[in-house]
């Protein structure tokens, strides 16, 4: 029930905030703040009361099932695992910051503003919690409208265009997802006789390869647009730069994360075969996004647009990691979701502070603020460093884990992805240079951060440092959930995976050995066990046959981790396994 209360609290708080404007102009702010603080306290309480060690084999902490539209098999079904819990805490934390930064920035229609703010957050909370696909789509849409209003009413000059674009992009892609949901619903129904939208029931729907592919693309449409992945990213810079600061924070910090969350929660477990097929392309898109976003970020003059493009770049790591299908990468993705939410949110907040003082977002008109506003300079420096991936800050852990994981899946793409870190350094330092170091173009007075602003900035610094220095609690919390998501990809029980994880020497011949099944993708494979994924089944089957091909003791250890990582090569003839790989494979050929 507590899960429901979290959402109800936000929704009721929103309505109350809207109405309370009549009684007192400051009341909406306090109501919003109070609702979010309560929710954060609830989430943290859940987190503290269930230490990671006590988690058993099931990753689910709390579940809630209420029938809603029984005729259609729709239930008000919610569940909380480590992944959702982390996302919820991020949601409420950023929500509180969003209320605080709007304290002075938003002066018109405050009641309606806080209504929208809380309802966006309610929609996002719902997305992170719901385990019913109908309900998921419902919340997916619920968060759009208030966001549209946040951009369209309180945004900057070009807000209408940006709001439209945001809305139409996300709505169109969402409808494709709805079609896929319905397709899955009917396929499941016709096979089992129970028509249901329940996630847990739909999980093991056997799908024909073509159907799986089509359905997956429907889901991907929604998530890749939201993430965004490069060809679909064009709504993001407009929406981010035109939104008010609170809107940008929520967009960058939370809305993008719903896309990543959707990939983890739905695409991976529902369509393992199709996802494996698509993985090289997805990773390629991720790498393109990383580099393209970084280059575009470097060439922006509008500070908020610049930060927006860094999001494109950072989200490239997310998709790269998700489609690496191993625990390292997924841990990296979760860390990236949280760290990026904090660091980019913070950069938008700093952009907001600057805008409040200068009434421009053009970095050519900024400069020399280091001397005038040292506090702001230090804080900006922390988050710029976080954004470029400096060790000791959250983003470093995230990107490192992601790259380690994706290296096991695809070496070359990972090499290119790593160049993104260099590019990140270039654009991030440019922010510092242009805004804080160069000589000042104007001689206007420039007040430093006041108490309220420090109150916003300091917790973020603390959080990002904590994530960078001691990420273990976060990793522990996410781990059972992630293993669950990867269940379809790892045929052996958990314990052995743990062992495997501990013994992987990352950069050794062994790593190459680990990728051997990639060459066994087709019937031509040297080991002659190419049944993998040609089954049209769940991939599992193929892998189990792989297992059978070996006597127990000769089966190369650790292959289970990555055994399906590069079944398809993205280029015809390109990205083939090197001769060395083949040599390795000969080496590990089972003895007769």
């Amino acid at each position: 029930m507590i899960l429901l209360w979290m959402i109800v609290l936000l929704m009721a708080g929103g309505l109350l905030a809207w109405l309370s404007k009549k009684w007192h102009p400051v009341l909406p702010r306090w109501i919003a703040l109070f609702a979010l603080l309560t929710d954060l306290a609830l989430a943290v309480w859940i987190w503290l009361s269930t230490p990671a060690a006590t988690l058993g084999t099931s990753p689910w902490l709390i579940r809630l099932e209420i029938p809603w539209i029984p005729q259609w098999g729709v239930g008000f079904s919610m569940a909380l695992d480590g992944l959702s819990l982390l996302m919820l805490m991020l949601t409420f934390f950023l929500g509180i910051l969003a209320v605080l930064i709007s304290w002075r920035e938003i002066t018109t229609k405050t009641g309606f503003f806080h209504f929208n703010l809380l309802w966006v957050l309610a929609g996002i909370t719902g997305v992170f919690l719901t385990m019913d696909l109908f309900l998921f789509y419902f919340f997916w849409e619920v968060m759009l409208i208030p966001m549209y209003f946040l951009i369209g009413v309180w945004g900057h000059a070009n807000r209408n265009y940006a709001a439209y674009k945001f809305f139409i992009f996300t709505q169109a892609s969402g409808l494709l997802m709805l079609l896929s949901i319905l397709g899955l619903y009917f396929i499941h129904g016709s096979q089992t006789g129970t028509y249901t939208f329940n996630y847990f029931e739909l999980l093991n729907t056997p799908l024909a390869p073509l159907a799986a592919r089509l359905l997956m693309f429907g889901f991907l449409a929604a998530f890749l647009v939201k993430l965004p992945v490069v060809p679909f990213h064009s709504w993001l810079p407009d929406a981010h730069s035109e939104a008010p600061t609170a809107g940008s924070v929520i967009l960058a910090g939370l809305l993008l994360k719903t896309g990543a969350y959707g990939l983890l929660r739905f695409v991976l477990p529902l369509f393992p075969t199709a996802a494996v097929e698509f993985a090289p392309w997805a990773m390629l898109l991720g790498v393109v996004g990383i580099i393209y976003g970084a280059i575009l970020a470097f060439s922006q003059t509008d500070l908020k647009r610049l930060v927006a493009y860094t999001s494109v770049s950072h989200m490239g790591f997310v998709i790269l990691g998700v489609f690496a299908f191993n625990e390292w990468a997924l841990q990296g993705v979760v860390m990236q979701m949280i760290a990026h939410g904090l660091s980019t949110g913070a950069l938008f907040i700093i952009a907001g502070f600057l805008y409040e003082r200068l009434h421009t977002r053009d970095i050519r008109q900024m400069g020399g603020f280091w001397a005038k506003a040292p506090k702001m300079g230090v804080i900006a420096l922390v988050f710029v460093m976080a954004s470029l991936g400096l060790p000791g800050l959250g983003n470093f852990i995230a990107e490192f884990l992601t790259l380690v994981g994706s290296w096991q899946a695809n070496n070359w793409l990972t090499v290119f992805a790593t160049t993104g870190l260099v590019l990140a350094t270039v654009y991030s330092l440019r922010i510092m240079q242009k805004v804080f170091y160069e000589s000042a173009p104007t001689d206007r007075p420039f007040p430093d951060l006041n108490t309220r602003e420090m109150l916003i900035a300091v917790p973020m610094v603390v959080m990002i440092l904590w994530l960078g220095l001691y990420p273990q609690p976060v990793l522990d919390t996410a781990r059972p959930a992630l293993i669950k998501q990867l269940e379809a990809y790892t045929p052996l029980p958990e314990q052995q995976i743990e062992v495997a994880l501990n013994v992987i020497p990352v950069d050794s011949n062994f790593t190459k050995a680990m990728v051997w099944p990639s060459t066994s993708n087709s019937q031509k494979s040297p080991l002659g066990i190419g049944a993998l994924d040609k089954e049209g089944g769940r991939g599992m089957k193929g892998r189990q046959e792989n297992m059978k091909a070996y006597p127990q003791n000769t089966y190369p250890q650790n292959t289970l981790l990555t055994d399906v990582n590069i079944p398809l090569t993205p280029f015809k003839g390109g990205l083939k396994t090197s001769k060395g790989d083949l040599k390795m494979i000969r080496k590990i050929k089972p003895r007769p």
Partner: protein
């Protein structure tokens, strides 16, 4: 006719008598409030008389009518919509100079026509119902004679409707010629005997589709819609968009299910083309409009296209989806036109974008209602429109009408654009402060504000908890004999 027949036709009889009584009362004493009270009471009474019929098994009054669950549901829907529209009309006409009493006679008569349509099982009763509906509508559309565009709209509707009736009649004649009967079941039996459709019968169906298509204002028979919607008084536009179309759609479902037209690829092809064309033409043309009433007109064309998608599914789920969507569409359309009516002044209806600029800050409540209605038209969650669209998509996916389903999705996105355009205009910041609340008389206030509040509650209620409506519809459809057969 037996006593039982009378009992089953009670809602229609009440409406007939109400029209007569109002006519007599007007002759004696012209008073808007009293006439309105009689109208409202008769609608309510007719609706309550349905209570007796709630568990009705298909009761045939051969050969003209049949009263089954489907009919009862549609009659109920029509009556409720008419009641709400009459309430809006009361607030709307109270502010105007014209003689307003006769309006209610016409409103009742056209509702009667729509009710007749949904219980018809014979060409004669079909045509009778259609003409009662149309003739009353001619006058309703041109009711505010002094308005610039009302004559144009009235004449346009008159000529085109007469034309379409002629097509319909000729089509019926051809069907009669081929099958030798005018009852739906007789036609179905005759058609079952044919190996394939004879050309004359097919021509007959084609001509009938023209007549029906005109009433439904689907492409390519939609030309009249925007002009008539624009010229007619706002409540009348709401009436045309809902009751008139709902009645005809009910008839279409009954006829098509009875003769099982889904077996014939050529008929399916015609309807598929019509559905896709309606969605696209409606939405694309709406994009270019600056007039709110015209936008709503084009949007209603595209919504009929959506409805046809579920109709083409042709199974029980399809009929349920059509019915559910129709309920959502009724609520939304009446609400939207209700807002237009509420904002209208003595000279003209509030139909320009300028009338809505910054409405949220001037009249927050009205703007919220309108926003809710538009979001429902766009199919956004928490509104009935979302569940309806979901239902239609489900019906389409279920019968694998992929082309239609994808077109529907594409059109939903196009549609979003113009709905949002209106919303964006309403949310624009203007200098004007909040308007002082108008001092309305309590009766008017109740009629307009009360109606709109009720509609919003229904909209959100169905959007959040559709279970009740879904089970009501499926239980009502149990006695719908063509569906039960399939």
């Amino acid at each position: 006719m037996t006593q039982n027949d009378f009992l089953h036709l009670m809602p229609l009889l009440i409406l007939t008598f109400a029209a007569l009584i109002i006519m007599l009362v007007i002759a004696a004493w012209r008073n808007h409030k009293i006439i309105y009270a009689i109208t409202a009471i008769s609608f309510v009474a007719a609706f309550l008389s349905l209570y007796e019929l709630q568990d009705v098994q298909a009761y045939a009054i051969a050969p003209l009518f049949v009263i089954d669950g489907f009919a009862v549901f549609y009659i109920g829907l029509i009556l409720l919509a008419s009641l709400l529209i009459s309430m809006l009309s009361y607030a709307y006409f109270e502010q105007r100079e014209e003689q307003k009493e006769e309006y209610y006679i016409l409103l009742i008569l056209s509702s009667l026509g729509a009710c007749t349509l949904v219980i018809s099982t014979h060409f004669a009763s079909l045509f009778l119902g259609l003409e009662v509906l149309s003739v009353a509508l001619y006058t309703l559309i041109a009711y505010l004679r002094s308005r610039e565009r009302s004559d144009e709209a009235g004449i346009k509707y008159l000529i085109l409707a007469a034309f379409s009736s002629a097509f319909l009649l000729f089509g019926m004649a051809l069907v009669y010629f081929s099958t030798g009967t005018m009852t739906f079941s007789g036609i179905a039996a005759a058609m079952a005997g044919f190996q394939e459709l004879p050309l004359l019968l097919l021509t007959g169906f084609g001509l009938m589709i023209i007549g029906i298509g005109f009433k439904l204002s689907v492409v390519p028979f939609h030309m009249w819609t925007p002009d008539v919607y624009e010229g007619a008084p706002a409540p009348v536009s709401a009436f045309i968009a809902t009751v008139s179309k709902g009645g005809v759609l009910g008839l279409l479902i009954r006829f098509f299910m009875e003769v099982d037209g889904f077996r014939y690829p050529v008929l399916m092809l015609i309807f598929t083309i019509v559905a896709i064309a309606s969605m696209f033409a409606g939405n694309l043309l709406a994009l270019m409009q600056q007039n709110v009433k015209r936008i709503l007109a084009y949007s209603s064309i595209s919504h009929l296209g959506y409805l046809l998608v579920a109709f083409l599914a042709g199974n029980q789920m399809g009929v349920e989806a059509v019915t559910f969507y129709l309920v959502a569409y009724f609520i939304t359309t009446v609400g939207a036109f209700g807002v237009v009516a509420m904002l209208s002044d003595k000279e003209r209806d509030a139909e320009l974008m300028d009338d809505y600029r910054g409405l949220l800050w001037r009249r927050p409540w009205t703007a919220t209602v309108f926003t809710a209605m538009l979001l429902s038209l766009a199919g956004i969650p928490l509104t009935a429109g979302f569940v309806g669209k979901f239902y239609i998509l489900a019906a389409g996916v279920n019968t694998q009408l992929w082309l239609l389903v994808v077109m529907l999705v594409l059109n939903s996105v196009i549609g979003l654009y113009y709905y949002i355009k209106i919303i964006a205009v309403m949310f624009q910041q203007t200098e004007a402060g909040q308007e002082p609340l108008q001092k309305l008389r309590p009766s008017i206030l109740f009629a307009s504000v009360g109606t709109l509040s009720l509609l919003v509650l229904l909209l959100v209620g169905i959007g959040v908890y559709p279970t009740a409506l879904v089970s009501l519809i499926s239980s009502m459809l149990e006695t719908f004999h063509p569906v039960a057969l399939r």
